[in-house]
């Protein structure tokens, strides 16, 4: 999957590229308005990560260009200006998602997957990891083609882990993913442990191998 990262903050862009590489993602990077405009016009991308404040112009202008050229690229706005107006404007212009800075890379990974999935398979799709098959539309899980019943939080958690497979996911990014901004109000993420335990138990019961590893001091990781 080809991703274009339009971000003027070098350090952040490098982190994103570092995090996404190795997966099936192929990342390109544009650090200013004109480079970004050239790249958008010349190539096709599966998803574009778009910063709004850019040297040489406004990211929302680029978004208009993308839509004018009838490109099918998915767009996720990543903005430091966490304002409702920017979000509404971006989504109205046809952005697929809006992620305010600062964000967890795992959250970005999950959103990226979701956007690409929606675009490619027109919203009807399954994502697979070994014997686990997740239908993101019907919100069902099949292990060895047998359904496993998970709560909404457990489903979201598993999907998040699968979207960020082979990566260490911190408890705080899991908590933030599951409870949104409300996670802001607590430092205690013990409830994640309970969710993980339940998911593991339910998967094991369905005959699934234990792929969810606890990484001491840091969080969890889904890996073979």
């Amino acid at each position: 999957m080809k991703i274009l990262i339009i971000e003027d903050e070098t350090l952040l862009a490098k982190s994103i590229i570092e995090y996404l590489k190795g997966e099936s993602f192929l990342c390109e990077w544009a650090s200013d308005f004109l480079t970004a405009k050239d790249k958008i016009t010349s190539y096709e991308y599966d998803c574009i990560l778009l910063d709004i404040t850019l040297p040489g112009g406004n990211g929302l202008e680029l978004l208009k260009q993308i839509k004018l050229q009838n490109k099918i690229d998915g767009v996720i706005i990543i903005s430091a200006r966490n304002s409702l107006d920017d979000k509404i404007a971006g989504l109205q212009l046809g952005a697929d998602d809006y992620l305010p800075k600062p964000f967890h890379l795992a959250e970005l990974g999950a959103r990226l997957h979701a956007v690409v999935r929606r675009r490619k398979f027109e919203g009807k799709d399954t994502i697979e990891f070994q014997e686990i098959k997740i239908d993101t539309t019907a919100k069902t899980i099949l292990v060895n083609n047998r359904p496993v019943s998970l709560t909404k939080s457990e489903f979201d958690l598993l999907l998040f882990l699968v979207a960020n497979k082979n990566r260490v996911i911190s408890k705080s990014s899991l908590a933030e993913h599951l409870s949104g901004d409300d996670a802001d109000y607590f430092d205690n993420f013990d409830f994640i442990y309970a969710h993980i335990k339940n998911v593991k138990k339910k998967l094991a019961k369905a005959g699934c191998n234990d792929y969810i590893k606890t990484v001491y001091g840091l969080g969890y990781k889904l890996a073979i």
Partner: protein
């Protein structure tokens, strides 16, 4: 006391003193003027008399004629004298007027003359205006002057204060209503009086400058918070990348965890500051009908995992009722209050939310306040036993309530913390 009345009072005092002083002064001046006039006329009469007498010096019985003249005229008397060395003088004398039955003042010229070698004393007199009459007339005139002066001053003062000061009072009223944090600007009324125009210009200048500075200060906080987001995003992303290193030792992992927690706290702090500055900047203007019960249900469901992790149970008693307000702010308000109640609840305790009509009450079992009650809603006032708290939650609650005119009350009774909000 009004400004114009103060000046009026001074004017009145001054004119009163002037009139009081001017009565004797004009009396003396008139008297002197009259005396001088009469003196001249007396001297003139004497000269005329001597001129006429000279013509009759040929008469032999002039002496007898002079005696007759002395007898028959009142204004003139002429008598023989032996003391010829006496010099001429003028004096004021009173004579009794038998018709008016009162003393009347006369001015008389007493002068020694020589007719046909014989010495005489010639006295010529003229009636004077009575001092009383003069003083009375002057008094009347001056009193009339002062009466009309006072009446005129008071009348003009009334008219002026009504008309002249209108622009001033209008400016004053506008200044009283002027609020720095509101967008309406100071618009002075046009006036023909240059002082008031200057005043208005100065005030306009001042208010505009204050507004610009206030705006800049507000924008600075917001911009600073916004600018912080990017470095924080870099920090977050670097930590996320660092976590992926396969060779991390447990000790390193713990350090990374600590850095991650700290940077989380920093972004939380920053987000709260941003929210406060947005509140100060009035960026939550949209009003809508909000289903408070459903917000409470969603928020409490979201916070339940955190509560359960502490063994805290959330109890609800919510009546469906819609209120009008800003949905985002109401959500933030409830999240802040509820998460606060959960955080400061005793382990295995209970948090109770009730909403009836337009009153929201949140109770939780807890230890008495570690900060003073007055400082409870202050920014950065926090309980040191909860170091992860940034101390802005209740400040945000208070600020939202202030901005939306909600009433928030805190109480602590029977080990229960209670926050109640009336919408």
């Amino acid at each position: 006391m009004r400004l114009l009345n103060i000046s009026l009072r001074s004017f009145l005092w001054y004119s009163l003193i002037l009139v009081v002083v001017s009565i004797p002064l004009s009396f003396i001046a008139f008297r002197m003027l009259l005396n001088e006039e009469v003196n001249e006329s007396l001297r003139f009469h004497k000269k005329e008399f001597l001129k006429h007498i000279k013509k009759f010096e040929y008469l032999d019985d002039l002496e007898t004629d002079l005696e007759v003249l002395d007898e028959f005229t009142f204004e003139l008397s002429i008598n023989r004298t032996n003391n010829a060395s006496q010099s001429e003088f003028i004096q004021t004398v009173l004579y009794f007027d038998s018709v008016e039955r009162e003393q009347r003042p006369y001015r008389e010229l007493v002068s020694p003359i020589t007719i046909k070698g014989k010495d005489y004393v010639l006295v010529i007199r003229e009636s004077l205006v009575e001092s009383n009459d003069l003083a009375f007339a002057i008094g009347i005139v001056q009193s009339l002057v002062i009466l009309f002066l006072v009446l005129g001053l008071v009348f003009i003062n009334r008219r002026l204060s009504g008309k002249l000061w209108t622009p001033f009072y209008s400016t004053l009223n506008k200044l009283k209503q002027f609020q720095l944090d509101k967008s309406q600007s100071f618009e002075p009324e046009k006036t023909a009086i240059s002082e008031f125009n200057d005043l208005n210009k100065a005030i306009l200048n001042l208010t505009e400058r204050s507004k610009v500075m206030y705006q800049q200060q507000k924008e600075f906080t917001e911009n600073a918070s916004h600018e912080m987001q990017t470095p924080l995003a870099v920090l977050h992303s670097k930590i996320d990348v660092l976590m992926q290193s396969p060779e991390l030792t447990e000790a390193q992992a713990l350090i990374i965890q600590d850095i991650a927690t700290t940077s989380q706290r920093m972004s939380r702090l920053n987000r709260n500051l941003l929210l406060l500055s947005k509140l100060d900047n009035d960026q939550f203007k949209e009003m809508e009908v909000v289903d408070l019960a459903s917000i409470i249900n969603i928020v409490s469901a979201n916070l339940e995992p955190f509560a359960n992790a502490q063994g805290v149970i959330i109890e609800k008693e919510v009546m469906p009722n819609n209120i009008t307000g800003n949905k985002t702010l109401i959500e933030i308000l409830i999240i802040n209050l509820l998460s606060n109640a959960i955080r400061y609840s005793l382990p295995n305790g209970e948090v109770m939310i009730s909403f009836t009509k337009n009153k929201l009450v949140i109770n939780n079992m807890g230890l008495p306040l570690a900060v003073s009650r007055e400082k409870l809603f202050d920014r950065f006032s926090k309980d040191n036993s909860h170091p992860q708290s940034v101390g802005l939650g209740l400040a945000i609650v208070k600020r939202i309530c202030d901005a939306c005119n909600y009433n928030v009350v805190y109480d602590f009774k029977n080990d229960q913390h209670q926050f109640s909000i009336t919408f």
